[in-house]
Symmetry: C2
Subunit: 154 residues, 2 copies
């Protein structure tokens, strides 16, 4: 089976897999490829769809399992989205260079990115005063976006 050019981030990830004694399989390669070529706002179902296009027959359950092991290896990260599916992204992809937290508008359901350093002062305070180490990207922050706020002004 032929596959398209492998992005550097993917090659790197596959190397890390081998290094850790994990197996390099078609499913995992495809998952990585999809993540690399995406905006970083894909849920498992989306990923499964795209993976199946490139590598037919890969089961959803396998995609979940791949995402899980890739997460444990530190290659993939995810963001929990209240009320809907978790979204995944490559930790070191070009698109993820500027680490960002996720804002979600509870009205239009749209996503907005916010640079992680905006959360740095809060993170510092939590660390200093509570010893709590914040993982700002791990859960979406909720609120109302500018557009919806204007549109439904009350």
């Amino acid at each position: 089976m032929r596959h398209t050019e492998e992005a550097p981030a993917v090659t790197e990830a596959l190397a890390l897999l081998r290094e850790k004694g994990e197996r390099v399989t078609a499913a995992r390669r495809a998952v990585l490829q999809v993540l690399d070529g995406a905006s970083g706002h894909l849920c498992a179902e989306d990923i499964a769809g795209r993976v199946d296009a490139a590598e037919p027959g890969v089961h959803r359950a396998t995609v979940y399992r791949s995402l899980q092991s890739l997460t444990e290896l530190g290659i993939v990260a995810h963001t929990h989205v209240p009320g809907s599916a978790t979204i995944y992204h490559l930790k070191h992809s070009a698109a993820a260079q500027h680490a960002h937290a996720h804002l979600q508008c509870t009205t239009c359901e749209g996503f907005f990115d916010v640079p992680t350093d905006w959360l740095a002062p809060l993170a510092e305070r939590l660390r200093d005063e509570l010893g709590f180490e914040l993982d700002a990207q791990h859960a979406a922050l909720l609120g109302t976006c500018a557009e919806c706020r204007d549109h439904f002004a009350d």
Copy 2:
């Protein structure tokens, strides 16, 4: 059927219900009573359990529907907890006087409260620069608590 003394917050909420033309039912009263007497970290299932103790026969679905309408009326608020059930609290209960956001440790799953004003600078920045109105209590923030950080130090 007899029920125990009604807390002021509950009486107030029931009055508001009537005012808005909503019906006061045994199920809704029980839900309010449970929320009033709780720490504010109860999920729908927990609430259903306690409601059923006080008012046997109330169905889970009814609890969900009650929580939903009470939320729409602004009496109840909830916090989404990644990977597990949404938790609910009375908006104006004694226990909720000092509004707080929720931190959850991804290791021990424990909850920690943080005063909303710790998030105020971030909220302000989001409002000023993005027009995004943050609802700090609506989703839990994730990270690692002091204890787990020490315990699993790496």
